[in-house]
Symmetry: C2
Subunit: 161 residues, 2 copies
Amino acid sequence: MPEQALVASALGAWKSNLERADRVFSALNEEQLQKEVAPGKNRLIYLWGHLTAVHDRLLPLLEIGPRLCPEFDGIFITSPDKTVAQLPTAAEIKSAWDEVNSKLLAGFTSFSPADWLQKHASVSAEDFAKDPSLNRFAVLLSRTNHLAFHLGQMALIPKPA
Amino acid sequence: MPEQALVASALGAWKSNLERADRVFSALNEEQLQKEVAPGKNRLIYLWGHLTAVHDRLLPLLEIGPRLCPEFDGIFITSPDKTVAQLPTAAEIKSAWDEVNSKLLAGFTSFSPADWLQKHASVSAEDFAKDPSLNRFAVLLSRTNHLAFHLGQMALIPKPA
C-alpha cells in the first residue's frame, strides 16, 4: 500500500541519520568529545546530550511512553553549552542515547500509517481539527531534519586518526 | 487519503528548510558570502552554489525536466571550495537557485503519491523491482536532510547586524 511505502521511507531516513550520528559519537573518547564544532560553538558532548534530550521528548510527544531522561532538558536544552558546571559523562549520555533511541524505534515501527497521521500530544484536538498537518509524521520528519542539522556541524570536526 | 497527508508533510518539510536557506543567503552581500562556516571550511557562497547544483540534479533524477545549470557541477560538486579561480557571482547563483527551486516545486506539487513511489531515474527497473525503496519519495527526504545538514553549518555564522 502506498502509505506504508511512504512511512517506510521516512523511517529509513530517520535510521540512517541516527546511525550516522551514532558512528560519530561512539568513536570518540571523553577528550575528543570536548571539541567545539567551530570556535566558541557547541562541544560534541553537548550536542550528544542535546540530541538525546530532544529525542527523549519524542516519547511522550508521540505517546510512545514516559520520558527516560527528563533531567537532560535543563542541561542540554534550556542551558547553552558551557554554562552548566558538570555535564553527565560520555558513558552516561551514551547509555541514555541508546535507551531512548531504542525505545523510540520500537514505537516507530509499531505505528501504522493511520497512527502516524494522529495528532501529536502538544496540539489540542480543536487545533488539530483545523490543521491536520500537526501530526506525528510531521514531527518525525522535523526531528530527522534536526538530527541532520547537527550532523552537518559535527562533520566540520576532523575524524580521529 | 493517508498517502496524500504523508506526502504533504514531506513537502512541508522541504519548503520550510528551503525557505530557511533562502532567508540566510538572500540577506547576505558578496562580502558576507565569503565567510567560511568554520576556519578552513566551505564559504557560504560555495554552499549556495553547492545546494543549487544538488537541487538542479533532482530535475532529471525525478524526471521533472532537463537540468538548468549543469555547469555548476564542476564548480560546486566535483571541486572543493577554493580550488576554482572564479565562482559565479552571488547574483548568478541566486538566479539559478530561484529558477531551480521554482521548477522543482512545480514538479513536486504535480506528483501524486503513486508518482512519488515511482523509481528515480538513476535506478534500473530490475534493481527497483528488487528494492522499491529506491523511489522518488526517498530522494525527496534525503535531499531535505542534505539541505538541513548544510543549514546547520550555515547557522554557525553570526547573522549580519
